[in-house]
Amino acid sequence: MSVEGGSLRTEGLTKSFGGVLAVNGADVELRDGAINGLIGPNGSGKTTFFNIVTGMIRPDAGRVLYRDREITRHSPHRVAHTGIGRTFQLCRVFPRMSVLENMLVAVRRTRLRELLAGLRDAGEVERARHWLRRMGIEHLEEAEARDLSYGQQKLLELAAVLMAEPDLVLLDEPAGGVNPALIDRITALVRELNAEGRTFLVVEHNMDMVMGMCDHVIVFDRGAPIAEGPPSSVREDPRVLEAYLGV
């Protein structure tokens, strides 16, 4: 695990919706090879920041750089092709497609011949099974995604993101709506995947998970970072206490 310079950097990122300033000149730099946490009170701009970085929302001002290349106004699929994967706050899978098909959609192909080739390429199917095995849901590969429990869908969503081989994975509330056993499992998985060299940015309200799992925590309030550092220092930071508790 490395906590050196940032693979993802934002400069003066700003976005408003009507009169509401959701992200306000945010300068953020992730620690490369680390598990970065992004926390803050409700409405502090975390998810908007996430959506801007992944191209879902266009910013009003500012820049997003990934590995020193500007990706500010890239469409989401181009952001994905640069090596950034994401999950969603409310788990999203393709409900009427099988688990295996959910995985294979994430395989990137650009040549016409490959696009028109059969979906179930043996090599890709084996790679999909590898990720499903790691998530513990390989026995469900032919089930339709809508038949899975919510926890299983969370694991499938993460597996599909990993199928696209991202270097940076953005997880939006991975512990939301899942039971404690699964939270432990997701935490362990994130640690394993991080040990293999992937950088993570995790938005999460579960403070135990964030403080126990992350190497570096960034705290957002009113659309911009107000503090950052190791979990132990962030926890004691008076600005963070004020933002969360109003004291």
């Binding site: 989401p76 009427r96 959609v105 994430a106 696009l115 699964l182």
Partner: protein, 329 residues
């Protein structure tokens, strides 16, 4: 089961080929050709609507453009009808790429409205450009088979439309098994999610839109040389687009044979009502009513009802957790 699933389509194909020889008169050959034409068009529509979930009510724009393109090339430039048919279809496809780039930027009801606007615009352009198209009086296209009487011409076009249907079905089947098809289905399920996984959804939708327009334009071109008389109000009517939607929804948009089944029901029913009720608007009302009933009570279509999967073993959370405990970290 596998024999049934392969044998039934073969049996239907054999019956379709034999149909003109089995029916007692040429009117039924004509009705058969019309039904197969609609089957080809709704299968083509389903390349967009079925895979991506984008409902176009304006696909008759491509039907009309294919018809007028073919007719004008034959009448104004004296191009052989087969060449005119192919050139016209290619031009309409190129036009559809341009329209698609703009149209698929919006989703849901907005896309439906854009598609309706497209067919209305095309209707106005063709009616307004009298010097080229003949305006509201229409365009007369000479028969490509002057030596054949009307009934024999119906028979020839029955087989031409059947060939077009076969190619459209083959295309749909091939796309459904491909990576491209999986991307299109992912768009139907959750477009933002598909995009975040790296699917270039805009390019995929435009490709599906254009491919769908290609076959509809070919059907329009065949219609032009078959009927020999083009009326802009008919070929650019929303009713034709609505028929494509209705047939696909009724049969089942997620199935290869869904639009074909829908056409086999709707097209003969339409002809029957036309004969039984005369040239009134009642058969149009009946079409609208059926469309509403299908959307309300059978949105997945007949084939989905027939092939409805039995509820499999439930996959409860407890089982997932038990499984997770077994996974070595």
């Amino acid at each position: 089961m596998r024999i049934a699933s392969r044998g039934l389509p073969l049996l239907v194909a054999a019956l379709a080929i034999a149909y003109p020889w089995l029916v007692p008169n040429y009117y039924l050959v004509y009705a058969g050709a019309l039904t197969v034409m609609y089957a080809a068009m709704s299968t083509s529509w389903n390349l967009l609507g079925g895979f991506t979930g984008y409902v176009s009510l304006g696909h008759s724009a491509f039907f009309g453009l294919g018809a007028y393109g073919t007719g004008l090339l034959v009448v104004r430039l004296g191009v052989p009808w087969v060449v005119a048919l192919l050139v016209s279809a290619v031009l309409v496809t190129v036009f559809a790429v341009g329209v698609g780039i703009a149209a698929v930027r919006v989703r849901g009801a907005s896309f439906v409205i854009v598609s309706i606007a497209l067919v209305s615009m095309m209707n106005l352009v063709v009616q307004g450009w009298r010097s080229l198209t003949g305006g509201s009086t229409g365009l007369q296209v000479p028969s490509p088979f002057p030596g054949l009487h009307r009934g024999e011409t119906h028979m020839v076009f029955f087989y031409l439309f059947l060939a077009l249907l076969a190619v459209a079905l083959l295309c749909w089947w091939h796309v459904s098994r491909s990576r491209f098809g999986a991307g299109l289905r992912a768009i139907r399920e959750d477009e933002d999610k598909a995009e975040s996984l790296g699917v270039p959804t805009g390019a995929y939708k435009v490709a599906a839109f254009a491919l769908s327009a290609l076959f509809v334009a070919l059907a329009g071109g065949l219609y032009a040389v078959w009927f020999g008389s083009l009326d802009p109000i008919f070929v650019f009517s929303i009713l034709i687009g609505s028929y494509m939607v209705l047939m696909s929804l009724l049969g089942g948009v997620r199935h290869l044979y869904g639009p074909l089944l829908g056409a086999l029901i709707v097209a003969p029913a339409g002809e029957y009502f036309l004969i039984a009720l005369g040239e009134t608007q009642i058969h149009l009302t009946a079409t609208g009513l059926v469309l509403v009933l299908v959307v309300l009570f059978m949105p997945d279509g007949i084939l989905a009802r027939l092939t409805r999967r039995r509820p499999g073993p439930s996959i409860p959370d407890e089982t997932a957790d038990q499984r997770l405990q077994k996974v070595t970290p």
